[in-house]
Symmetry: D3
Subunit: 164 residues, 6 copies
């Protein structure tokens, strides 16, 4: 880690980094996260196809839409013409809870990690919102980038860790 | 937990719950979360007052502004005329990383948990964004409601847990 | 019809009407609309529970979220703290197509017709978007207010008509 | 019609279609719609240059601005850097009412039908809003794509129909 | 001036001030500003009723719509359910240029100066945008609050000054 | 000045100019403005590093974020994928007050003057907001483009003037 906080000028002032000189390349990023909940809450979400469809379906859509708002939310993010966003949500009986994964793609000058992370975060917030009437103790956790490709710095994949 | 997923109609369809009959009461909610990072990343963020000021200052502001966008992001949230939002961010050397706490208040018909959680989530995303050039492996974790007050269901405080 | 275009000043200039003197009352409005399509398109949308769930589910959610954006879109609308929005979408084999109905509620100083109409319009746009790859000829039609209640002007219900 | 609902994955889940591989081409789309109203309402809107200017002028602007918000409103639309939007509104004494037409253009990877349709829809909603104090019975109708050009699928023009 | 920067906590951190304890009162504010331009630019804007209608009409509408976005733009502003916004724009041959005045009203817990100022600012930006092809040298100036009423601090009117 | 108001059609109707034929070039623009205030207000803002950090830091961030919203605010602006935005704010003891400068860059088909001007305007509004509790009489002034580069019309620099 020999880097620098690129969003800060030499004087420590916030700025949107100049990416004008960077080439347009095909970029992708995948992020994941989870909502840990009481087992009964997960059962309730999964009970009945219609209901399952809706909590998970609403959260998926919220995540996709939020990815498009990333540069509105994260102050120093560049606006990006996303070419694809997908969000997948699956139950994890061991957690217990729901696991969320999002992929974002763009042909652009900057990476799309923030778009993937924003999709995951808002999908998790939406799950919390829809189930909070029965379980206020849910915890959103482990939101992180799993891999990214494209751009000068090349591909990156989260190293295995004895994590959590 | 004898509740129901109130955001779903009897047929499992998503809806924004009718809160018309609920009284306007003073409500507050506090949520917390954290960004776990490499120690060197935390040191870099904390090095120099200006720089510290900016990563933490930008993230705090992003959280406050995001709280006001909650009903734009979380599909079934009611729009709320927030009377206060504050976000606090402090280093935790043991994590290592930054801990984020947000409080939201409203005189309204529904609670403000989602606003507090959204503030925390976007503050964490902003920290990730500003430090990702030096540390892609950061993890956003433990986003949860700590306490809430006001409303028919009364006050609630997260029970102690042997958590995580 | 002895009224006046209240959004225009005496000089014909656009303005947001002053509703400061109007009392806060419980208000509701219901609007409807439809998307007429080829029968094969409707069959495709309805084929398979998952798929049906998604076209209709996505459109319903888009309508609910759009209702919250009404004052951003319609220039002279007042911002309103909606207390409820619901959107229902059902197939009509005779059209053939999908029929959309939306209800909006508020405790406020102005009516919520525009919110209900906006929900219907955006739900219809979303249906078009999701099915346009197979049927560009779809037509969005008959978007109108069916009834409203609350406010000084009292309740109103669309008169029967030998319409269309 | 041998197509597929491209916004749904094989499992029927909503997604934003990946357009990364599609070439950037010059694209255009034109959509139309109408607001049918009482003759007296149309007369009132058209009476006096200033007033006419305003109802029609406000609606035109609302349509243009809404086109830029399309990807915020329609969940699975890609964000597009529009190069042009125009909205035309003209009285139709036979309807009676106002007819709205919108054209959108982009150099992009996906079509701009949704932007043109959104412009028409919001212009119609704005007309309704500005005249609703005198005529609640107005109906928004016949919103549809008239023609599109550019992209892999080539040009398309709505076939003549014995329509309506 | 014995006040304090209320948007900063005792530690100098940004926060949205807590207005929960403040009573709801009827509040209003009026702000003004101007765009100074070459005389020929003003003539061009004023030439022909239609054209005049449009530059001034578009700027007026942009100002009204921007007032509704104030809390999205100004980080520590509270969201407010505005009950009225109006914007007036008139030529000033002596400037030469256009003078803009905006009034905002609300029944709320905080003042509406920022909403009036935002309306003026964005109306001025829009005038600049529409005339910049002929006059890049225009200057936006003298944006200020003229008077405000309501709230604990009572009415206030800008003192006469030998200003500018 | 032999130009034309390009945002108006031949009939004087507002439109978003068609830039489809224009080449993509590297463009930049710099705009400036100021907030004039009582000397005591400036002293208060500058007193203490933390406080200074926050008023100026919050305003800088507000300006950067607003630049990204330009096409949402200014009705006929094209959406632009900004590659950089920076905002600088410095005290001017002679004014007395704060001077704001913003630079915006894009690789695009239209200029970025409006983005730079919007950044300056919203930074000034934010300064007003944060200091208004102690000084209602502040004036935002002299918002103007200083220079621009790129595009068909080439580089432009504001001529020296005996101005102000």
């Amino acid at each position: 880690m020999t880097g620098d906080l690129t969003h800060l000028s030499r004087d420590g002032e916030a700025r949107m980094v100049d990416v004008g000189e960077k080439p347009v390349t095909r970029r992708a990023a995948r992020a994941t996260g989870a909502v840990r909940m009481a087992r009964a809450t997960l059962d309730l979400i999964l009970a009945g196809d219609a209901k399952k469809g809706d909590v998970i379906g609403v959260a998926r859509l919220a995540g996709i839409m939020a990815a498009k708002r990333t540069s509105d939310l994260v102050p120093l993010c560049h606006p990006l013409p996303l070419t694809q966003v997908s969000v997948e949500i699956a139950p994890d009986e061991d957690l217990p809870g729901l696991r969320v994964a999002a992929t974002a793609r763009v042909d652009g000058k900057t990476g799309v990690e923030m778009e993937a992370l924003t999709a995951v975060s808002v999908a998790c917030l939406t799950i919390y919102d829809m189930a909070k009437a029965v379980d206020r103790g849910m915890v959103i956790e482990a939101i992180r980038v799993e891999e990214k490709s494209g751009g000068r710095s090349g591909d990156w994949r989260r190293p295995e860790e004895a994590d959590r």
